[in-house]
Amino acid sequence: MPYTSRMHNSNRSEVVIAVDGLAKEYRVYDKPEGLLASVQGLFHRTSRLVEALRGVSLTVGRGEFVALLGPNGAGKTTFLKLLSGIITPSRGTASVLGHVPWLRADDFRRRFALVMGQRNQLWWDLPAAESFRLHREIYRIEPARFERIRDELVDMLDVRRLMLQPVRELSLGERMKLELVAALLHEPEVLFLDEPTIGLDVVAQHTIHDFLRSVRAHRRVTVVLTTHYMKDVAALCERVVVITHGSIMHDGPLEEIVDRFTTHKVVTLDLDDAAAARRIEGLGFPCETSGPRVTLRIDRRRIADVLPAILAAESVRDVTVEDVPLEEIVAELFRGAAPAAAAGVPT
C-alpha cells in the first residue's frame, strides 16, 4: 500500500478529470396500464422530468483509481456516459484530459477507452485478433508498438490462444478479458469501466483485478469504474464515490466509509457449551447462535468494556473481532438514502 498512497499524493496537482455541477435530466413518458390507456397514449402523453444526476462535482488526478458505487438507477452509468461523451448534460461542465467530452473531438477519443460489461466492442463472428487489427488502424498505433502492447496484454491475461478464436465461441469471462485488451491497445490515459466483472466467476474476477492493478502500476492509467461488487472495490480502488439519487453522498478513501458508516463491530465467540451461549444471548446484544458459537454486534464505543467482561465471566476458546462486512455497510448506506428519494417521486 505505500506505493498507492505515494502515487495518490504526487499526482494530486495534475487533474485529469474535472467535473463541476454536472446534471442530467431525462424526459420520460408515463404509460398507464391497460389497453384503453394505451390508445389514449396515441393522442396524449404525459411526461415528466427525471433527474438522473443532480449537480455532481469532483476532480480526479492522474493515476487515481476511483470506484463509483450506488444502487441501480443512482446515476453511475449516466455519469460515465457524460464523461465519455456519449451524452450531453442538462447543466454543468466537465473536462476530461482538457477536452469537453461531449464535443467528441478525435484527439480526445484517441486518449480514453470505455468498456461496458454488458456490451460488445469486438466483432462477434471473427477472432478478436481482427478487432485488434482494426483498432490499430482506428487509433493509428505503430505496428511494432501495437504488437508489443498486444502481446504484453494477452500474456498478462493468458488469452493469447483465445484471440484467434471467433468471439461468439468464447465464454463471458474470456470475452471480457479480450474486451479489456482491445480497450488498452491504444494506451488510453483514462479508462472508464462500467461493471467490468458483472456475471463473471470468482477466478475470472481475480484475474481481472490483478490485471487492472498491474495496468495501473505500469501505465499510470486513470481509472473510473462502476460496480456492484465490493470485491472489485476492495481489490482496486483507494477512493470511493458513493452516488445515490444523482448526488454524491460520500467521496473519500474506502476506510473512511467503514469508519464513518459503521457503528458496530462483529464479535464471534467460540464457547464451551450451549449453556454459555444462552447466557451470552441474555446480555441483550443483537446476536446469532449456532451451537456453542455466538456472533454478536456490539457498539464500537462499548466494545472495550463489554468484551473483557465476557472474557472474564465465560471460558472462551476463541474470539474474533471484525468490522461489519463491506457489503452490509454499503447496503445500509444505500438504504439510508432511500426515504428521501421516495418522497421525491410522485405516486
Binding site: 442530467k24 431525462y26 424526459r27 438522473a52 449516466t78 456516459k81 465519455s84 461523451g85 456519449i86 451524452i87 450531453t88 461531449w102 467528441r104 478525435d106 477519443r109 484517441r110 477507452a113 470505455l114 461496458m116 456490451r119 460488445n120 466492442q121 466483432w123 463472428d125 471473427l126 481482427e130 478487432s131 487489427r133 482494426l134 490499430r136 488502424e137 482506428i138 487509433y139 493509428r140 471467433p166
Partner: protein, 297 residues
Amino acid sequence: MRADAAGERGAAGRFFDRVAGGLRVWWTMLAISIEERLVYRGDFVIGTLMRFLPIVTQVFLWTAVFNATSRPDIAGYSRNDIVAYYLLTMVTRAFSSMPGLSGGIARGIRDGSVKKYLVQPVDYVAALLAARVAHKLVYYLVATLPFAGVFYVCRDYFPPAPPVGTIAAYLLSLVLSFLLGFFMEATLGMLGFWFLEVSSIIFAYMLVQYLLSGHMFPIDMLAGIPTGIGGTTVADVVRWLPFEYTAYFPAAVWLGKIRGADLARDLALEAAWVVVMAVACRIAWWRGTRRYSAFGG
C-alpha cells in the same frame, strides 16, 4: 523563410497523412467486413438462388400479356425487350438494394450498440459503407456464376451488345445506383434516432420504391397516365425522383432506350441525387446523435 516553407510542407504532409490514415482505416474495415461476410456462406448461396424466382413469374406474366394482344410492343418494349429488361433490373438491384441496412442501423440505435461510434475515433457512415461494399463484393463472388448462367440461357432475348460508350455509361450508372441505394437506406435507418420503430416506414419506402423504380414495370409505361397538371404525365414526375436510378435507369441505358444528351442529363441527375442523399445521411447522423446524446443514449 525556410522555416515557413517547412511549416507549409508540414501542413500539407499532415493533410496527406490524415487522408492516407483514413483510407487505411477504411481499407481495414473493408477487409474485416469481407471476412465477416464470408462466415455466412450458406445463407448467401440460398439468398442468391431465391432471387431468380420472381423473374420467372414475371416472364410468364408478360408472355400471357403479349399473347392476349396483337400489338408488337407495349410502351416501346417488345416481348423480348421485356424479358431482357427484367433480367437487367435484377442486375441493377444487385447493386442498389441494401437488404438489412436501414433495419440494422435502427436496431443499433435502439439497442445502444451505436454508442461504439460515439466513443471511438471512427466515422460511422464510412464504417457502414465499408461493411456494405464488403457485403456486395462477397455477394458478387457467389452470384456471378448463376447470373452468367441465366443470361446465357436467355441470350436470345437481348438486342446485340451496345457500343463501348453505352457500356461505360451503364457501368457508371450501376456504381452510382449502389451509392444512391446506400445513402437513401442509410438515411432511412437513421430515422431510428427519432422513431423507436422504423419498420413501417421502411415498408412504405419499399412499396413506393418498388412501384416507382421500374422494378415492377418499365417507367416508360407511366407515360400514358396524366397527372392532370399542365399536360404532364406520371412518368415526367418520376423522372425527377431518385427511385428510377435504383432499377430502371441502368437497364434502360443498356437497352438503348436513353441516349445522347438525355443520357448525359440523367447521369448528371443520378450523380446529383447521390450527393443530395449523402448530405442528407450526414445531416441525419449529426442531428440524430445530437438528439440521442440529449435524450439519454
